[in-house]
């Protein structure tokens, strides 16, 4: 089975989730767990770094849809960064860019959160 790895690190008030490998119906629960942990700790500002993600299936996409509402209701958000072209293409076809913010670099996404904080 294709492997998958998810780790979370804190950059100021923002949590960055690093995804690695293949995110599909089998591995999606791991990511769900990670999101549940964040919510338990009241961390609602999340940047997902896709730098090392090779593949995402519809079940993987569903994870973000399931949690974005909770994040937004608590003045947070899920933002995406460092996506490779083919992965972005999947998000793009689905129309995710209309609903989510995508950034070239993780820093920009974190910056965006911090700007909002100040304003």
């Amino acid at each position: 089975m294709a492997d998958f790895n998810v780790t979370t690190r804190g950059v100021g008030p923002v949590r960055v989730i690093d995804l690695k490998g293949y995110l599909d119906a089998h591995t999606a629960p791991e990511l769900e767990q990670e999101f549940n942990k964040l919510i338990d700790h009241n961390d609602y500002k999340v940047v997902v770094n896709f730098d090392e993600l090779k593949y995402i299936s519809s079940a993987g996409l569903g994870v973000f849809m399931a949690y974005v509402e909770t994040m937004r209701e608590n003045k947070g958000d899920i933002k995406f960064s460092n996506m490779q072209d083919d992965v972005f293409n999947i998000f793009d076809l689905l129309g995710f860019p209309v609903l989510y913010e995508f950034f070239k670099d993780e820093k920009e996404a974190i910056e965006k959160f911090n700007q909002k904080e100040k304003s």
Binding site: S58, A66, L94, G95
Partner: protein, 690 residues
């Protein structure tokens, strides 16, 4: 268990025996009494042959009883009693005839023949029964002493007819006779079968052996007395009389040994019975395990047998369930009581050790201090049910007498616990496989239903060739396509892909079908229709699920394609072997239920040119993977479509299928594959191929 010489004669033993009997009859009438040694020898040979075949014949019947030694003994007893009765009766009725030569007449000959035949039959039956008894539970192939005994029987038989000279007794005959008795004594010790009788049978045997022994001794003694019978038999055949005497002695010795053996076995009989019962109950249990799939039924047998074998008063079995311990079966104890004891020991943490433990009276008292009402158990054993180091439950055995469990009782409780563990495991596996089987058959039904949801035929149009394909990755899938005849000119179509795979997506897919089918009748505009569909689906889709779709129609009158794309894969139009990817804006159904969806959805209209091929597909095609986990990809897919000018879309379809299957060869399908192809042929010329 053949006698060494029994192979000589095949079937017809009874006939031969009777034939020889008749020859003897005739012979005896011709020579009622003789001193001629040749005739005497002939007489002996004839009688020996009759006895020999008689034994061979009766061996058939005695062999049938080789597992019931008691009934063999009883058979011997019956014949013996008859002989005893006969000799006693005839001795009291008739006097010894002083001089045979003078007094022999026809009546005497007739009576003597009948009596001699009866005695012959008696000797035959007793001999073959003894033979069978000797061979019971014989574990070695060597039975030399038995063979020797038979040989000496034969020798004694023939030696008996040697003439007694006036002064010297028949020394040779006597020698053989004595050796025979010695061999009889040796062979009589083969009574190991007694050990395997139950206590009841041993008691029976004890009594039978006393009675039988007495009859044998009386009979044996009577053969030495100068009686009518002795005279008659010796006249009939000295060998027969000698053999009869040997048989009676054999019987006396044998019965004596049986008597003492069973007497000495009686005290240990109970323990022996127990061992036998344990062995047979374990055998029963292992048979049950393979035959009975219902665990509760098995659990009942296990607790029942545990009480029997371990000398316990009660036994019960608890299994570990997700919700805690569950009482599966009780034997000789109330459910409530068993439950209560189990709970006490569970709360003491004793069950966590998952080891075999026993408790004495004091220890039990200590544990259940405040509940005297409950228990008068004075010894308790708990054995875990272990399979692969996994404890699946516990077997309890308790007794009311105040003595602990012996080592062998502990072992048998453990053995039963092991069996229970295996049975439990089996029952679970079987249940799982039944469940799996059930799901499988239900999935098969689901699959059939799903294929019915999809159009069974593609619409036939004058200037539009249509072909479609659906291959689910699992039994059921989440892809959907359909066609709607909106009016004379417009043919609607839809292709949709529900997120996820398998059953969950198949359910949504069925709903999606309902939504599109209904809306297609009401709404012409693809955009309006998709917006409406999004609203309807918002009520049933969960947060994680979404549906991508392309909905559109071909207006045959205008030669136009109109469609809108809700997050789905691009629509291809292949014109002159060049592919144009149409990706108008639009987000997937279920991603957003507000204005974003409507605002971002763009409708696109394309004027069709002759021979344009419209390609709709789901990502199952581009994401089809080979063993190296490489994707089929857009490039391969597009290059097939643009590779040639396909006259017929069926041709294109089969080419795509072939390419995908040769690419993914050996790798299982990851996602549902759906493909819809439409070719615009405006000038209405008949298609070239086929």
């Amino acid at each position: 268990m053949n006698l060494p010489y029994s192979g000589l004669v095949s079937a017809r033993k009874l006939e031969i025996t009777i034939l020889i009997g008749i020859i003897i009859l005739v012979f005896k009438f011709i020579f009622p009494i003789t001193e001629n040694s040749f005739i005497l020898i002939l007489n002996e040979v004839l009688i020996f042959c009759a006895l020999y075949f008689g034994v061979l014949y009766t061996s058939h019947f005695t062999q049938l009883k080789k597992n019931e030694p008691i009934s063999l003994i009883i058979n011997i007893g019956i014949f013996n009693a008859v002989l005893f009765f006969l000799s006693a009766l005839s001795s009291s009725l008739f006097e010894v005839i002083p001089s045979l030569e003078v007094n022999v007449n026809f009546i005497y000959s007739a009576i003597s023949l009948i009596i001699a035949y009866i005695f012959m039959a008696g000797v035959v039956v007793v001999l073959s029964a003894f033979k069978e008894l000797y061979f019971i539970r014989l574990k070695t192939d060597t039975h030399k002493s038995y063979d020797a005994m038979i040989v000496f029987f034969i020798l004694a038989f023939f030696a008996a007819s040697l003439p007694d000279s006036n002064e010297d007794p028949n020394f040779i005959g006597l020698t053989f006779f004595v050796v025979s008795i010695i061999l009889i004594s040796i062979n009589s010790f083969r009574v190991s079968w007694i050990a395997f009788l139950t206590k009841k049978q041993k008691t029976q045997l004890l009594i039978i052996s006393i009675i039988l022994g007495i009859i044998f001794i009386l009979n044996a003694v009577s053969t030495f007395e100068n009686s009518f019978i002795k005279q008659l038999l010796e006249n009939f055949s000295p060998g027969l009389h000698s053999l009869l005497r040997l048989m009676m002695i054999y019987g006396s010795i044998y019965c004596g040994i049986i008597f003492f053996t069973s007497l000495f076995h009686l005290p240990t009989a109970e323990a022996f019975d127990k061992k036998v019962e344990e062995a047979s109950s374990l055998k029963d249990l292992s048979r049950l395990i393979t035959q009975v799939f219902d665990f509760n039924e098995l659990a009942d047998s296990i607790t029942n047998l545990t009480t029997k074998v371990s000398n316990s008063d009660s036994a019960w079995l608890v299994t570990k369930e997700p919700g805690g311990l569950k009482l599966s079966s009780v034997s000789n104890i109330g459910y409530v009581d068993a439950d209560e004891i189990t709970k006490i020991f569970e709360s003491e943490g004793i069950l966590n050790q998952e080891e075999f433990v026993t408790f004495s009276r004091k220890q039990i008292r200590l544990k259940i201090k405040n509940d005297i009402r409950l228990f008068d158990f004075k010894a308790l054993a708990i054995s875990p049910l272990k399979v692969h180091n996994n404890t699946s439950g516990f077997l309890f055995a308790a007794r009311k007498q105040n003595y602990g469990f012996d080592e062998d009782e502990k072992k048998s409780i453990e053995a039963f616990a092991d069996y229970a563990a295996v049975a439990l495991e089996n029952a679970k596996l079987i249940e799982e496989s039944i469940e799996k089987e059930r799901l499988k058959s239900e999935l098969k039904v689901a699959r059939e239903i799903q294929y019915k949801i999809l159009p069974s035929t593609t619409p036939n149009c004058d200037n539009l060739q249509v072909s479609a394909l659906f291959i689910p990755a699992y039994e059921v899938g989440g892809d959907y396509y359909d066609f709607f005849r909106m009016n004379e000119d417009k043919l609607g179509f839809v292709i949709a892909d529900v997120s996820g795979k398998g059953i969950s997506s198949a359910f949504i897919m069925a709903e999606v079908k309902g939504v599109f089918e209904t809306l297609a009748k009401l709404i012409d505009s693809p955009k309006e229709l998709l917006v409406k569909a999004n609203n309807i689906l918002s009520e049933s889709l969960d947060k994680k699920s979404f549906v991508t779709a392309v909905y559109g129609f071909v207006d045959k009158k205008k030669g136009q394609l109109s469609f809108a794309r809700a997050g789905h894969m691009p629509v291809y139009i292949c014109r002159n072997q060049k592919i144009e990817k149409l990706v108008p804006n639009g987000i997937g159904l279920g991603l957003d239920y507000g204005y974003s969806f409507e605002q971002n959805l763009k409708e696109q209209t394309v004027d069709l040119v002759d021979n344009d091929i419209i390609v709709l597909y789901t990502d199952g095609i581009t994401e089809a993977k080979n063993i190296k986990m490489e994707e089929f990809g857009y490039n391969r897919f597009e290059s097939i479509i643009s590779s040639e000018n396909f006259e017929n879309v069926e041709e294109l379809k089969s080419k795509i299928i072939n390419k995908i299957s040769s690419f993914t060869q050996g790798n299982s399908q990851h996602d549902d594959i759906t493909l819809v192809l439409m070719k615009w042929v405006s000038n209405n010329k008949p298609s070239g191929v086929n």
